[in-house]
């Protein structure tokens, strides 16, 4: 083939569909993730330890809570903590990739920023699934958690999908902060949000002012919603509003940072 006809043929090429997204890329990203021992350990072991510490050793764990017992509620709380920690950590890895120049490298490929975000979100969901599964598995084998079988499935799925809220948070933080301190910032933010969301200690044990404040923090709405299938009672619009507003904030922040990033690099 002459250079001319090679060029003519090349000009006819089509860009890849879906902005370069493919399941194979997600698989490669997951493989990368599994290789990262520190992240894996923190994501899977820490929630289990919290659960063993907070969820099973209290005197009131067998007391009834909605359709199950207190231990079931604790399990859901800790699983949510584990899941959001996993997605936030994964999302924040873009910070490291930016520092390594990988994001820039990807920009000389057909991969679109949107496809990249979707890949990151799906990858973070894989880790979140591991965290939820680990906590639920420990819950199952320790034999203290009691709730109907369908609630295990429903609450597990709610926690898992709900954790995407913090994938957006992680991406936002990952684009905003330098890679040196993004991990610490994320860990601190997660811990504060988890306390304020009532994941470690029930909100009813907080002073009244703090309880009011807690209702405006990012994990409050999501936490109430994932507990709702177990707890029953009335569904409050404030929970959904809290979730939607924080999701909007994180997504807008991440998109804004991404735009800024692509304009400059």
């Amino acid at each position: 083939m002459t250079a001319q006809s090679a060029l003519a043929a090349a000009l006819e090429r089509k860009p890849p569909p879906l902005g370069g997204f493919s399941p194979a890329i997600v698989r490669l990203e997951v493989r990368r993730l599994l290789r990262n021992r520190r992240t894996m350990t923190l994501a899977l072991v820490l929630p289990v330890l919290f659960f063993l510490g907070f969820g099973l050793n209290n005197s009131y764990v067998h007391e009834t809570a909605g359709h199950g017992n207190v231990s079931a509620a604790e399990m859901i709380s800790i699983a949510l903590y584990g899941a959001v920690a996993a997605t936030a950590t994964c999302g924040a890895m873009v910070s490291i990739e930016r520092a390594a120049g990988w994001s820039r490298q990807l920009r000389v490929t057909p991969l679109s920023p949107a496809a990249y975000i979707v890949i990151k979100m799906l990858t973070s969901l894989v880790l979140a699934a591991g965290a939820v599964a680990a906590v639920y598995l420990v819950g199952a084998v320790t034999n203290k958690v009691s709730m109907p079988a369908y609630l295990w499935v429903i609450t597990g799925l709610c926690v898992w999908t709900g954790s995407l809220l913090f994938a957006a948070f992680g991406l936002f933080a990952g684009y905003l902060l330098p890679s040196e301190n993004v991990t610490q910032v994320i860990a601190l933010a997660l811990t504060l949000c988890s306390f304020a969301g009532g994941l470690f200690i029930p909100l009813s044990q907080f002073p009244p002012d703090l309880q009011t404040f807690a209702k405006f923090t990012p994990l409050y709405g999501l936490s109430q919603l994932v507990h709702y299938p177990l707890a029953g009672g009335t569904l409050q619009w404030g929970w959904i509003l809290n979730l939607v507003v924080w999701l909007a904030i994180f997504v807008t922040g991440a998109v804004w940072c991404l735009r800024r990033d692509t304009a400059r690099v």
């Binding site: 860009p15 569909p17 990368r32 390594a100 000389v108 690099v265």
Partner: protein
């Protein structure tokens, strides 16, 4: 083609615009008649960037496979690793590879879409001599297949040794464009050295195209931008013999054309010493 210029001349800025990584402040960039980003998406243009751009926790083969998955049309991972000469380290983590090996991996990644235009930005920066030589061999083998390769460099030897065409820029403007020999000639002209007993310096100076004459005993040194014409005249109209024509190095051309005194590259007065 070599894209040569001192640090800060605008090489990387130009490349970023060709790749669609940044927008020009004024005017428009088109690559193969389309927007740069579209050319990248179609795999017409690819690039080997300066340092960075790799993930330490992937292996060499995985990195190439990752890139291959992003393009609609791609060559096989095995083939590009072979071309870049890194088949032997395919299973190695990127973080454990030397600078030269990482650069070959970047080259392999750039070959994945089988681009029409391949851009290398300072490709051998930080490589040792051996790594550099091996890298250029891989590049030249590839260029022999008919691909257009543009490389930015501030190593003059590289431009001199590996480019068919040299474009020299300074402060964002093109100051010379031609073969390495032409660019050298453009800056300083060439020098004829000949044996000419009893040379008449005034007569020599009067010859067309002559810019400077130096008589050292029986030897004359003549600077000229058109040494061919001067040489023809010397050989036919004077008893001059032992003619030698030498260009000054690209280095002098570089300094002459990019230095502060180089407002007009066609002002050759500085060569007439």
């Amino acid at each position: 083609m070599a894209f040569l210029g001192p640090n800060g001349a605008g090489k990387t800025s130009t490349i970023d615009m060709i790749l669609g990584l940044s927008r020009p402040d004024a005017g428009e960039v088109e690559v193969y008649g389309m927007a740069p980003r579209q050319a990248v998406r179609k795999g017409l243009v690819s690039a080997v960037m300066q340092a960075g751009g790799l993930l330490k926790d992937l292996t060499v083969a995985e990195t190439a496979a990752y890139t291959a998955r992003l393009f609609a049309v791609s060559r096989s991972v095995g083939e590009v690793l072979e071309r870049a000469g890194i088949t032997a380290i395919a299973g190695r983590r990127v973080g454990k590879c030397s600078g030269g090996e990482q650069q070959r991996l970047r080259f392999a990644m750039a070959l994945i879409p089988d681009p029409q235009l391949l851009i290398l930005d300072e490709p051998t920066q930080g490589m040792d001599v051996e790594g550099r030589r091996g890298f250029w061999k891989a590049i030249r083998d590839d260029a022999a297949l008919g691909r257009t390769i543009v490389f930015a460099t501030h190593y003059l030897e590289e431009a001199d040794a590996y480019a068919d065409r040299v474009v020299l820029i300074s402060k964002g403007r093109i100051v010379a464009d031609g073969t390495a020999a032409e660019v050298k000639g453009l800056a300083c002209g060439r020098t004829i050295r000949a044996t000419l007993p009893g040379a008449d310096e005034t007569a020599l100076r009067a010859m067309p195209g002559v810019e400077g004459v130096e008589v050292r005993g029986d030897t004359v040194l003549i600077h000229s931008a058109d040494t061919d014409a001067v040489a023809r005249r010397l050989l036919t109209q004077t008893p001059a013999r032992d003619l030698e024509i030498t260009s000054r190095g690209l280095e002098e051309a570089f300094i002459a054309l990019t230095g502060d005194g180089a407002a007009d590259p066609f002002d050759r007065s500085q060569a007439a010493t």
